[in-house]
């Protein structure tokens, strides 16, 4: 995809702030003008001009005052070679060692190149999570916690996509293979491993009793991961939140809006039996069970136990319904014969 002059209504490189604002919007996932004003210190009128130019060139989309980068805008950021700054800047202060840093950077580049919209959604989630959990004093323990939280949020979203792409659950090994992570040892991917097993633990929560056994921090992350996508698409709620988010005195109010929203959703969603559409952690849970019983027969039994229809099996085997029925008939005859 190339930039096209006929759709390029206004020059944008004569004012450095235009590209800076564009990069800031991507870094934030989605953001209001008010937030930009207060984060990067521009004059209101100047920002209005910039936003208008970006909008006219179709580099951004606007939904209920939230600005998001479009595919066209992504090309501008690519052209300006700002991707590295945005991606690496999202974890530059975290505790990852060099090799994991490089793995995370490559994974997010892959994510951005293949699933730009979802990548922006993840960065929106990170924006809210970071604002609520920021503490000035950076002890080692706190830095480790922030690094784990970051890995959990990023990898939760990436793993889910890979799982959907493969039409079957995501194991740690095939995810690492997908993201070029097999060349690293488990020790080198410390936080990635921890994030994966943290998510596996959350995947096994399927009743309120188990949920109540979690520590507060895990409960918070559980609610966040379950509800963040609903929250990210609820612009009304986000706007209400933004009004309190930037004032230290009312940050606790913002936090309570956010958590009330999440826990309300959680009550509706979570403690009911899982529906097939609720895939927040299912893809990991199923996989983990497969991995634990790592034999061909166990995998097959697991698949048959969990498939509720022919269409489930069609997806897993990647076959048409006719082929799947044919295979099952052959297997059934063979099993009958052996027995």
């Amino acid at each position: 995809m190339k930039m096209n002059l006929s759709e390029y209504y206004e020059s944008i490189l004569q004012d450095e702030m235009i590209a800076i604002v564009l990069a800031w919007i991507e870094k934030s996932g989605s953001i209001t003008e008010e937030e930009i004003l207060h984060e990067i210190g521009l004059g209101k009128h100047h920002l209005k001009e910039i936003v208008l130019k970006l909008y006219r060139n179709q580099f951004i989309t606007v939904a209920n005052d939230f600005l998001t980068i479009s595919e066209q805008g992504k090309l501008v950021i690519d052209g300006l070679n700002l991707t590295e700054e945005i991606i690496n800047g999202s974890f530059s202060n975290l505790a990852f060692k060099n090799k994991e840093r490089s793995f995370i950077s490559n994974s997010i580049h892959w994510y951005r190149n293949n699933y730009y919209h979802q990548y922006l959604n993840t960065f929106t989630s990170l924006k809210y999570w970071n604002r609520f959990h920021h503490k000035k004093e950076g002890s080692n323990k706190e830095s480790e916690k922030k690094s784990l939280d970051y890995s959990v949020i990023i990898f939760h979203d990436i793993l889910q996509l890979i799982s959907e792409e493969q039409n079957y659950g995501a194991t740690l090994d095939n995810i690492l293979a997908h993201l070029g992570g097999l060349k690293y040892s488990h020790e080198e991917l410390d936080y990635t491993n921890k994030a994966y097993y943290f998510l596996i633990n959350l995947a096994n929560i399927n009743d309120k009793e188990k949920f109540d056994e979690l520590d507060n921090s895990s409960k918070e992350m559980y609610a966040f991961l379950k509800c963040k996508n609903i929250f990210n698409s609820d612009y009304h709620k986000q706007k209400e939140l933004v009004e309190y988010l930037y004032d230290k005195k009312s940050l606790s109010k913002a936090k309570s809006i956010f958590w009330k929203y999440n826990t309300d959703k959680l009550h509706f969603e979570h403690f009911l039996p899982r529906s097939s559409k609720d895939t927040t952690f299912n893809f990991l849970g199923e996989n983990h069970r497969v991995r634990q019983n790592n034999t061909l027969l166990d995998e097959f039994v697991f698949i048959m136990d969990n498939a509720s229809s022919i269409s489930d099996l069609c997806i897993i085997f990647n076959k048409s319904p006719e082929e799947t029925l044919g295979l099952l008939a052959r297997l059934s005859m063979k099993i009958d014969g052996i027995l």
Binding site: L13, E16, K27, L82
Partner: protein, 186 residues
């Protein structure tokens, strides 16, 4: 809604500084990308204001690092090839051709080029509305407005600033597109 003033967290401040630095470096790089522009119009010694503007544009664009040329600098009279053919060959080699005809006759010459799809998409045409009641003006406007890259009209020499501003702005846009697309714009 008015949000209270915010001091950025150190990490965000450092990210902002990195982005600013990078943007500044990249914009400097983009300024080194030349756009080649062929300026068609009245001869430089013509007394008309548009001829003077053509000279001025050549000098301003060159000062900005572009390649701005007149056809008459490129024509080889001894080549045995017609001027029209030579102009067509030149036009194909340039990123943009700016046409500023200053008489009804020269407006008519544009017909030679606006239907040629090898070059019409890079033709930026300026037409003086003083000639708007003539056949040449009307027929060129009718075809060039959709065949050329852009056709802009101005109301006499009092509005020559429109020509100047449009040329510099379009050339800047092409420079940016060439930068984003790593050299290509069309």
């Amino acid at each position: 809604m008015g949000l209270p003033a915010l001091s950025l967290e150190p990490e965000a401040r450092s990210l902002l500084e990195n982005i600013k630095q990078k943007v500044s470096n990249e914009i400097e790089k983009s300024k080194k990308i030349p756009v080649s522009v062929l300026l068609w119009g009245p001869a430089p010694d013509d007394p008309s204001e548009i001829a003077q503007l053509r000279v001025k544009l050549r000098s301003e664009l060159t000062a900005c690092g572009h390649l701005a040329q007149f056809s008459e600098e490129l024509i080889e009279t001894e080549s045995g090839v017609s001027i029209k053919t030579q102009q067509l060959i030149h036009a194909q080699q340039f990123d943009m051709v700016v046409s500023m005809p200053c008489t009804p006759g020269s407006i008519g010459e544009l017909h030679d080029f606006i239907s040629d799809n090898r070059i019409n998409k890079k033709l930026l045409v300026f037409l003086n509305e003083d000639f708007q009641y003539g056949y040449q003006f009307q027929s060129v406007v009718a075809t060039s407005s959709y065949l050329t890259y852009k056709t802009i009209t101005y109301k006499g020499y009092g509005e020559l600033h429109i020509v100047e501003e449009s040329v510099t702005s379009e050339i800047q846009k092409i420079r940016e597109i060439k930068y984003f697309n790593q050299g290509r714009w069309i």
